[in-house]
C-alpha cells in the first residue's frame, strides 16, 4: 500500500492554514518580546533576578549573561592571518536485529583546514565496527537502543577531535576545534554506562583544554573549542526575557515551567531583529543541571554560547556557537572564533566549510551500508556460519526490489 495522496492533500492544506495563523500570533508575541528584550540594559538587575530564581530553586533554564550587555550586537572582527581549523562529525549504522549478524558501526570524520594558507586540507576517518555481546547488549540482555549508539558516537567524535587538536599543538598558530552540535552532553537512562560516557566526554574536553594550555605555553596562541548548532530552536533568551517580565513574587517554579505569554517563541525571533549578517550576540551561560556538572568539573568547563547571524543581507541564517568558559572569558579568543567562523561560513554561503566536509567524510551512505552487510555475509559464510535474514527483512527486499550484483542498472 502506498501513501494515498488524495487523503493527505486536504490535511496538508489545513496544516498550511494552521501554521500561517500560528505565525501571525507568534509575530505579535515576538514584537512584545522584542520590546522587553530591548529594555534589558541593566546587567546587575538581570543577575540579581537569576540569583533570586536560583535561591528559590525555581528551575530557571534560560540564559544568563556572562559579562556583556545583552541587548546589543557585536560586530564581526578581523580574522587572524593564519589559523588551523579542525572539524569533526560522526555517523553510524544502528544495530539491526533483522540482519545477518548483529553489529553497529560508528564513523567519525575529521577535516583540517589551514586558514590563510594554500595548503591541501587534511582529512581522516575513523570507523569502528562493534559486534561483541558486551557492546551490543545492556545489563538486562536487551539490544542497545539507537540512543546508546548515538551517545557512544558523540563521545568518540570529541575524543578524536581532542586527539587531532592535541597532535597539532606544535603548529605555532591559533587552532579552532569545531564539534557538530551542542557541547553539553548528557544521556538518558536507556544508555548503558551513561555515567562512564559522560565522564569520557568530559575527559575529552579536558584533553582539548590541555591542547590549549600547551599551545599557549609554546607560542602564546589559543586552541579554542566550539560546538556549532545550525538553525537552533532554543528559547534561552526568550526565557530570560520572560523571567525579567515577572514581578519578584512571581519568580516560582510554577511560573517558570513555561515562558508564559512568550511560550512558543524561539530566540531566532529576537536575534533576527538584533543581529545583522556577521554580527554576534552577547555571551550567555545556559542555566541547567548539565552545565552545573560541567562547572563543578572546573570553572573553565562551563558552557557559554553566543548567537551568530551567518546569513546574507537578503537571507538571514542563525547559528548558536557554544564554547567552554576557557574560550569565552578571553575576548581575543571570542573574536578569533567569531571571525574564523564567518570566514568559514562565507565559503559555503552560510555553513562552515570544514563542518560540511567533516560531515561528508563521516556519513555512511545507504549503498555503503548494503556493501558492508554483504561483506559481513561473505565473512560469515567463509567462517562456515549460517546466514539467515529475518523474514521481515526478506519481505522488505522483495517489496522494495533490492537488486543483487549484476542486476543493477544505471539510470
Amino acid at each position: 500500500m502506498t501513501l494515498e495522496f488524495e487523503k493527505v492533500v486536504p490535511q496538508v492544506e489545513r496544516m498550511g492554514r494552521a501554521l500561517a495563523a500560528r505565525n501571525i500570533t507568534l509575530s505579535e508575541r515576538g514584537e512584545i518580546a522584542w520590546q522587553m528584550f530591548q529594555s534589558l540594559g541593566d546587567l546587575d538587575a538581570i543577575h540579581a533576578r537569576i540569583q533570586l530564581a536560583r535561591d528559590r530553586d525555581a528551575g530557571f533554564r534560560g540564559a544568563a549573561p556572562l559579562h556583556e550587555p545583552v541587548n546589543r550586537a557585536y560586530p564581526r572582527p578581523d580574522p587572524p592571518r593564519l589559523a588551523t581549523i579542525l572539524a569533526a562529525d560522526g555517523s553510524q549504522v544502528y544495530p539491526n536485529t533483522h540482519g545477518a549478524a548483529l553489529y553497529y558501526l560508528t564513523n567519525v570524520g575529521v577535516f583540517v583546514y589551514h586558514h590563510g594558507l594554500d595548503e591541501l586540507p587534511e582529512q581522516l576517518t575513523e570507523p569502528v565496527l562493534c559486534y561483541t555481546d558486551a557492546l551490543l547488549h545492556d545489563e538486562r540482555g536487551q539490544v542497545i537502543s539507537n540512543a546508546a549508539v548515538n551517545a557512544r558516537r558523540t563521545v568518540h567524535e570529541l575524543q578524536v577531535l581532542a586527539r587531532e587538536t592535541w597532535n597539532r599543538r606544535g603548529l605555532g598558530r591559533p587552532l579552532l576545534a569545531i564539534s557538530d552540535g551542542p557541547l553539553l552532553f548528557w544521556v538518558g537512562k536507556d544508555v548503558p554506562d551513561g555515567r562512564q560516557l559522560q565522564d569520557d566526554y568530559l575527559a575529552a574536553m579536558v584533553h582539548l583544554h590541555d591542547a590549549h594550555v600547551a599551545l599557549q605555553q609554546t607560542s602564546g596562541h589559543s586552541a579554542s573549542t566550539i560546538g556549532y548548532v545550525d538553525r537552533p530552536t532554543s528559547a534561552f533568551v526568550v526565557s530570560l526575557v520572560y523571567l525579567m517580565s515577572l514581578i519578584p513574587d512571581e519568580v516560582r517554579a510554577a511560573a517558570l515551567e513555561t515562558n508564559g505569554p512568550l511560550e512558543g517563541l524561539i530566540d531566532q525571533w529576537l536575534m533576527f531583529r538584533l543581529l545583522r549578517p556577521g554580527e554576534r550576540s552577547a555571551l550567555f551561560v545556559q542555566q541547567s543541571p548539565q552545565n552545573k556538572r560541567y562547572r563543578d568539573r572546573g570553572e573553565s568547563y562551563e558552557i557559554v554560547f553566543f548567537y551568530l547571524n551567518v546569513g546574507q543581507p537578503h537571507a538571514y541564517h542563525l547559528a548558536r556557537v557554544e564554547m567552554p568558559a576557557w574560550v569565552a572569558k578571553d575576548p581575543a579568543r571570542v573574536d578569533e572564533v567569531h571571525a574564523l567562523l564567518m570566514a568559514q561560513c562565507e565559503m559555503m554561503w552560510r555553513y562552515p566549510y570544514a563542518l560540511t566536509r567533516a560531515d561528508e567524510l563521516a556519513v555512511v551512505r545507504s549503498i555503503e551500508r548494503t556493501q558492508l552487510d554483504e561483506l559481513i555475509e561473505i565473512e560469515l559464510r567463509r567462517n562456515t556460519q549460517t546466514v539467515e535474514l529475518s523474514e521481515k527483512l526478506e519481505a522488505k527486499v522483495v517489496r522494495h526490489g533490492r537488486t543483487r550484483y549484476g542486476e543493477r542498472r544505471r539510470r
Binding site: Y113, D118, M347, M348, T356
Partner: protein
C-alpha cells in the same frame, strides 16, 4: 598516473561498457592526457590477445551539491579548490566509442567480439598502434554511423591524431587519402563532406 610497459599513460578504468563503447572513470586531477578524438585501447586481462580500440568522444565532470554551493557562495580560494580536486576525488567520466579491435596482431575495423570489463585499465594508444590501426580507413564508417556523437568533429579529430602519429613527411599524404575515403563514404551528403574536409584540411 600509472605507466604501462608501452610507456603510455593509463587514463582510467572502465566503469560500464557495451560492444558499442564504454565509459571509463578517472580522478579530476588526472585529466591532463586524454583529449577529444584520441585513440585508446583496453585489454580484457594482462596478456590477452584482444585489444579493443576506441575514440574518446566526450569528457564530462558531474557536478554535486557541494560544488554548486561553493560556486553560489563565490568565495573560493586555492585551499578549497585543491580540496575539491585532490581530496574529494571528483570523478571524471571519459566516453569512448569502439571502432575496432586488434586480435593476435591483426587489425579489425569492426565492433569487438565482447566489451571490456569493469575496471579494465584504459590506455592511450602509442604512435605505432595508431599507425597500425589507421593503415586502412574502414573504421571511419563506424565513426560516421555512430549516434549521439558529434561524428564529423570526432572523425576529424581522430584523423588529425592519426596524422600526428606519423612522421611529418607522411602526414599530408595520409590526410589526402583519408579525404578520398570520406568522399566515397559521404558522396550522398555533400554539406557534411564539405564540413569534414574543411576540418582535416592540411595546413
Amino acid at each position: 598516473m600509472n605507466e604501462t610497459t608501452t610507456q603510455q599513460p593509463v587514463i582510467g578504468s572502465v566503469l560500464r561498457a557495451s560492444t558499442m563503447g564504454f565509459v571509463c572513470g578517472t580522478r579530476s586531477q588526472d585529466i591532463g592526457h586524454p583529449s577529444f578524438g584520441a585513440f585508446v585501447r583496453t585489454q580484457h586481462e594482462p596478456g590477452s590477445e584482444t585489444e579493443v580500440i576506441g575514440l574518446i568522444y566526450a569528457i564530462s565532470i558531474d557536478d554535486d551539491p557541494l560544488v554548486r554551493q561553493l560556486i553560489l557562495a563565490n568565495n573560493m580560494n586555492t585551499a578549497t579548490t585543491r580540496d575539491q580536486r585532490e581530496n574529494r576525488m571528483v570523478p571524471v567520466e571519459i566516453s569512448v566509442v569502439n571502432i575496432g579491435y586488434i586480435q593476435a596482431g591483426r587489425v579489425y575495423h569492426n565492433l569487438p567480439p565482447r566489451p571490456p570489463l569493469s575496471l579494465d585499465p584504459v590506455q592511450l594508444c602509442d604512435d605505432a598502434c595508431i599507425q597500425q590501426f589507421t593503415e586502412r580507413f574502414d573504421f571511419l564508417r563506424l565513426v560516421l554511423n555512430t549516434s549521439e556523437v558529434p561524428t564529423e568533429e570526432l572523425a576529424a579529430a581522430a584523423l588529425l591524431h592519426a596524422a600526428s602519429a606519423r612522421p611529418p613527411e607522411q602526414r599530408y599524404d595520409f590526410l589526402v587519402a583519408a579525404g578520398r575515403q570520406l568522399a566515397g563514404l559521404l558522396a550522398h551528403d555533400l554539406p557534411r563532406l564539405q564540413h569534414l574536409l574543411r576540418l582535416i584540411k592540411p595546413a
